[in-house]
């Protein structure tokens, strides 16, 4: 803190930097402008990305980079131009920063470091569907300190970037528009599993939201148990935002077809039996 103590009565620092109310106000103005510029650029890039639909990830990867570049430039401007810190003052400032971290800002710094690693490694991008800790949803923003994701229930979850350093992150689409979606059905052991499998396969392939190609394969798995059989349909959707419309479309049409064909749901024996997954 030595350089701060060198501020003279007229508000100047003995060796280089001039700390006066005007400088502080200028620094605040720069920070506010940087924040506003970051928001505007982020919103603009998001608007461009939305217009590109399935190719939007080519643009969304620029959003955190842009924000970090703007904030970095603002910090550089404040330190070098407004405060004009000398090397000795920078060292002193580092000491001050170290003390601040020790006093309780270490989490904030960890979050910012986590944010920087996010920008470099890009384990997920804005628009990806990820599961972090107990939360699953679409990434809507990657900031300096935290990442925001929107859950299927329209709840915004703010996850500190530090979480990324310690916990596993599951990315469902890895920055591609297409995403594998799994739809499960349970039928009685006496039901015609072959016919049921055909119905599920047709429902997957004829959905408006499906995408099939050599890189985007589909499958229907049949599982057997004492009291029920499972049919697990897996197919890619054209856009990860269609995950739930796809599940709904396939489920509705499959259940209608099952009803028409007399394919029944499992009957759990009286007095117990194994519960279905999810019950």
């Amino acid at each position: 803190m030595s350089w701060l103590l060198q501020v003279s009565a007229n508000g100047t620092v003995a060796d280089g930097a001039a700390i006066d109310p005007g400088t502080v106000v200028s620094a605040v103005v720069v920070l506010v402008l940087a924040y506003a510029a970051g928001r505007v650029l982020s919103a603009s890039l998001t608007a461009v990305a939305d217009r590109l639909a399935k190719h939007r990830f080519r643009v969304t990867l620029l959003i955190p980079l842009t924000k970090f570049a703007v904030y970095g430039a603002a910090l550089y401007l404040i330190v070098t131009t407004l405060f004009e810190l000398t090397s000795a003052q920078l060292v002193a400032f580092s000491g001050l920063l170290g003390a601040a971290i020790g006093l309780g800002l270490k989490d904030l710094l960890a979050d910012i470091v986590g944010g920087l690693i996010l920008v470099v490694e890009q384990p997920y991008q804005v628009g990806d569907k990820v599961a972090i800790e107990d939360h699953y949803g679409e990434i809507t923003d990657i900031g300096l300190r935290s990442t925001e994701l929107l859950t299927p229930n329209d709840t915004v979850v703010v996850v500190p970037n530090f979480t990324f350093l310690n916990d596993a992150v599951a990315n469902a689409n890895d920055s591609a528009a297409e995403m594998l979606v799994v739809v499960e059905f349970y039928i009685d052991v006496d039901a015609d599993a072959d016919r049921a499998r055909e119905i599920v396969e047709d429902a997957l392939l004829t959905s408006p939201y499906v995408r099939v190609s050599p890189e985007h394969r589909y499958t229907v798995l049949v599982g057997d148990d004492h009291y029920y059989r499972t049919l697990t349909g897996k197919a890619y959707v054209t856009d990860l935002r269609n995950e739930y419309p796809f599940k709904t479309d396939v489920t509705e049409r499959v259940l209608d077809a099952f009803a028409q064909e007399g394919i029944e749901s499992p009957k759990v024996p009286a007095g117990g039996g194994q519960a279905l997954p999810g019950e």
Partner: protein, 348 residues
């Protein structure tokens, strides 16, 4: 609208015509009659892309030995065209052999099964977008050793088609000093192959050189023609049926009798942005099948009421309602395809 084969050949589709000729000649050679390898032919094109002309040509080559049939709408699974007992069959409208619904592939699968068990030469016509979809989900391409895909035409080829197609007095070119709406720079993409059978699409800007050159020599009479046909190509995306339709419309609606000028050629179709998911899927069905009954569209959309979606697309000039059928408008094709591609509903 059927474009005579001479026009397509003159327009530069000679290689496609020759491949079809060779397949027919090979089949008619007695020594190869029992060789089924080349006995199934698929002619694939965009709607209005000249597919009917190639099938017409195949019928001419085969004469009495061929029976012609056309599937004009989606029908039940048990209604299949007869193949057995025929020497050759020319079958248009094979994109009606399926419905995009549960059990909707039964008819197509039965047809492909018959196809695999016969020595009959079967020349089939397919819509490009149905073909792409069915290749992905039903591997329909494996049943057709010879697939002839009609490519888009360039401006000179469009000119050849138009000149051969227009029987009336050839219109006079008028210099109005305006070109109408046209892009001078295109955003195009180039596929770059990567190891492991993967490819990446690299977008880049491409200036429209012929257009810029034609502007530079605007005073020359030929340059007006160049601009006219370049504009026809761009608005039709090189699809011959759309280009001739646009030509006829522009000449007919020109302000001074049978005249044509770049400014007279206009695309009245709005873009397809901001349509609902249901309208987009309905559009895919109409583009891929070229005309579908309303009731069948409602079945495939799994909805009772689809009037709003049809009205939205009709108001934009993309589709038209003809009785109970919803059909694609020629000038609606490429805006529709652009939107479907943007949404990922067209998979290539």
């Amino acid at each position: 609208m059927t474009i005579p084969i001479e026009e397509l050949r003159a327009a530069g589709l000679g290689p496609q015509v020759e491949r079809l000729s060779a397949a027919v000649a090979s089949y008619l050679d007695e020594d190869k009659t029992l060789d089924r390898v080349d006995s199934n032919v698929a002619v694939v094109s965009d709607p209005f892309g000249g597919r009917a002309a190639l099938l017409e040509y195949a019928a001419e080559l085969l004469g009495d030995r061929a029976r012609r049939d056309s599937i004009s709408g989606i029908a039940d699974a048990d209604e299949l065209p007869d193949i057995e007992g025929e020497t050759a069959l020319i079958l248009e409208g094979c994109h009606y052999l399926y419905r995009r619904d549960i059990d909707g592939f039964d008819r197509l699968e039965a047809f492909l099964e018959r196809l695999a068990m016969t020595n009959t030469l079967v020349v089939t016509g397919w819509n490009r977008y149905s073909w792409q979809y069915l290749t992905a989900v039903e591997r329909v391409d494996e049943a057709f050793p010879l697939t002839i895909t009609l490519p888009p035409l360039d401006a000179e080829q469009i000119e050849a088609v138009v000149r051969a197609h227009d029987d009336d007095t050839y219109p006079e070119y008028v210099d109005t000093g305006e070109a109408g709406r046209i892009k001078t720079i295109d955003l195009v993409s180039h596929d770059v192959s990567l190891p492991g059978d993967r490819s990446v699409s690299v977008p880049y800007l491409r200036p429209n050189v012929s257009w810029l050159v034609s502007w530079a020599i605007w005073d020359d009479a030929e340059s007006i023609e160049a601009v006219v046909f370049e504009k026809l190509r761009r608005l039709s995306n090189g699809t011959p049926g759309i280009a001739t339709s646009l030509w006829e419309q522009s000449v007919r609606d020109g302000p001074e009798g049978r005249t044509i000028a770049p400014a007279y050629i206009d695309d009245p179709v709005d873009d397809c942005h901001r349509i609902s998911d249901d309208a987009a899927f309905l559009l895919w069905l109409v583009v891929a099948m070229e005309g579908v009954e309303r009731a069948q569209l409602a079945d495939m959309l799994d909805q009772d009421a689809i009037g709003t979606e049809i009205q939205t697309l009709a108001n934009k000039g993309i589709v038209r309602v003809d009785g109970s059928a919803v059909e694609l408008q020629p000038l609606g094709l490429h805006p529709a395809v652009a939107e479907l591609r943007r949404r990922g509903l067209i998979w290539t």
